[in-house]
């Protein structure tokens, strides 16, 4: 059987056999980028510099709220925001140490430890990247995937950083009389609706303020997470989070995608990145 000529395969094997190859400069990196992400980032000039993490473990105490009022739990809001900020700061420090200019694919998670104490670990983790052709001006952080960043940068934008806002809110319990009176009616629970509105607005406003302070023009891939963590159903944290961006080209660069129609019954996944959450799942 004759062998098909394949310059790339031969070059790759020659490099493994210790003959040549256009090797990377600088330190060996680790990255949680998928192959697609690594290849696409290389296309726009970014090289991975290393996996970076930051973590803050907080003891989340208790704040008392009136049983029957809607109100923000400002101490808890402050703690939840502060803890994330510390985890991010420590991750950014790590990114600086490995010579990164930005962090892609950030995962900002809260893990509640269910031991005897209300402990929450805030973890920030992502891959630091750098473009040797560019001068660093601080570290930008983004929770976008490599594919998204490729598109964003090709379209003429630059990620500025993460923008997020938190709000921990106590939703009032209904009085007993009210509860009994409504048992056989379809009725809007006004206090719930307005509480959710209020809390969501607060979180989003704080996120927008952050983006404005960073002189961003907009926020992409924003989402709102709504969780009760360890507090039971009437205390809810709203977290609004997204990547703030600025247009650096003169104008938006058109990408003009080809239109395709797949003939498969099912759309085959193009990448091995996790599927995006269904549109309209939130908000």
């Amino acid at each position: 059987m004759s062998v098909m000529p394949h310059p790339r395969a031969d070059a790759a094997l020659a490099c493994l056999a210790g003959r040549g190859g256009d090797r990377h400069q600088g330190r060996g990196f680790s990255s949680d980028l998928s192959v697609d992400e690594a290849v696409l980032l290389k296309e726009i000039g970014y090289e991975p510099r290393g996996l970076v993490v930051g973590s803050a473990v907080y003891h989340i105490g208790i704040q008392y709220a009136n049983w029957n009022t809607n109100q923000e739990m400002s101490d808890l809001t402050h703690a939840m925001y502060q803890a994330r900020q510390e985890a991010l700061t420590s991750m950014e420090r790590h990114a600086e140490q490995v010579g990164g200019q930005g962090v892609v694919g950030l995962k900002l998670e809260v893990q509640v430890h269910s031991g005897g104490h209300p402990l929450a670990e805030f973890v920030a983790m992502g891959t630091a990247v750098a473009n040797p052709q560019q001068k660093a001006r601080g570290i930008w952080v983004s929770d976008l995937s490599g594919q998204d960043l490729y598109l964003l940068i090709r379209a003429g934008y630059q990620p500025i950083g993460l923008a997020f806002g938190a709000c921990v809110y106590h939703v009032a319990h209904q009085g007993l009389g009210q509860w009994v009176g409504q048992q056989n009616q379809n009725v809007e629970l006004g206090n719930f609706t307005s509480a959710l509105y209020e809390a969501r607005e607060l979180a989003m406003t704080r996120m927008q303020d952050e983006a404005r302070r960073a002189r961003a023009q907009g926020i992409v891939a924003m989402r709102i997470e709504q969780k009760s963590h360890m507090w039971g159903s009437h205390v809810i944290e709203f977290l609004a989070i997204g990547t703030s961006v600025r247009l650096v080209a003169d104008q938006h660069q058109r990408i003009s995608p080809e239109l395709t129609v797949t003939l498969d019954d099912e759309v085959a996944p193009v990448t091995d990145a996790p599927a995006a959450p269904a549109a309209g799942a939130e908000g």
Partner: protein, 313 residues
């Protein structure tokens, strides 16, 4: 009866082969059969992976595996070696003195310093188990004159009923390029066949499977315990440090393995953080990372830039 004797003899021979650093008889025979080419090649590749590998200039030669079961010995706790600089395995230690001023030991049970220390002996045990399994899968791949192994799946589990045991098994498909140069060690990658092909097109070639493990025990001191019992929201410095240290250790160990195989970096690193309660307030935080070390062989971009598409379904 003679069948049983024969089976026992085979088993004995397999154990002896393993002790000599070789493969058990069943594996030797399987490889021999595949090498002779008298049997069909085996692979766990999907059809698209298979097509992608051929597109990248390689062909599958057979499924290969390596496995090892070890006992991971218990490590002497730092709690038993107070005052000794460095833990039993020579790992990292950080101490948190009693903030209330009772520095001596035995002043009262509620006053004691806290320690974060690395279970380096435990880390070494897991690394050694992994090394044995990897050596065996590479041995099989070499036996097939393969250039590499793709789509390696890792099974890492504790055997039930066997205390402190760890099974480490890796299974993948060996691939070869006809007429390619002989490699001293076949490459290994946990990426599937399609990703392997994309990686190659992107200018990177896989080198080896790399792992990083960071295990830190956190023994809270009285300062930390008092903080845990309080009503306020506050950062717990000792536990934050311990978890961050475990993560850093894992990443550092991974990156030093990358350097050891003369690779440029690692992609597709998967992380797994586990926390174990050790009784009292102590806990063990373990970060496990696994990735494929890659070398860049070409700097130039893809032959054709990726084409943006919009799917109309």
């Amino acid at each position: 009866m003679s069948d049983q004797v024969e089976a026992e003899q085979r088993q004995q021979a397999s154990i002896e082969a393993l002790e000599r650093g070789g493969l058990p008889l069943a594996a030797q025979e399987r490889i021999e059969e595949l090498r002779k080419g008298t049997t069909a090649w085996t692979s766990d590749l999907t059809v698209s992976e298979m097509a992608a590998i051929q597109h990248a200039g390689f062909e599958p030669v057979g499924m290969v595996m390596g496995s090892s079961v070890c006992r991971i010995a218990a490590q002497w706790g730092y709690t038993t070696v107070y005052g000794v600089g460095g833990s039993a395995g020579g790992g990292r230690v950080r101490s948190y003195p009693c903030p209330h001023g009772f520095y001596g030991y035995g002043v009262g049970s509620e006053h004691r310093p806290g320690y974060n220390w690395e279970h380096s002996y435990y880390e070494a045990g897991i690394t050694e188990t992994r090394n044995l399994a990897l050596r065996r899968i590479l041995e099989e791949a070499r036996g097939l004159n393969a250039h590499g192994v793709v789509g390696v799946r890792i099974i890492r589990r504790h055997l039930e009923g066997v205390g402190n045991s760890l099974e480490f098994t890796c299974i993948g498909t060996a691939v070869r390029r006809r007429g390619g140069p002989q490699l001293r060690a076949p490459f290994m990658s946990h990426l599937d066949g399609v990703s392997f092909s994309k990686l190659l097109h992107g200018g990177y070639v896989p080198v080896a499977l790399v792992m990083g493990i960071g295990a830190m025990e956190i023994d809270p001191g009285c300062g930390t315990e008092w903080q845990l019992r309080s009503w306020s929201n506050s950062r717990i410095q000792q536990i934050s440090d311990g978890i961050e240290e475990a993560r850093m250790l894992g990443i550092n160990h991974l990156e030093s393995e990358v350097a050891a195989v003369d690779a440029d970096g690692a992609v597709g690193v998967e992380t797994d953080l586990a926390t174990y309660e050790l009784g009292g307030e102590s806990m063990l935080v373990e970060l496990f990372l696994l990735g494929t070390a890659v070398r860049r062989y070409a700097k130039e971009p893809l032959d054709e830039p990726p084409m943006p598409i919009m799917r109309l379904r």
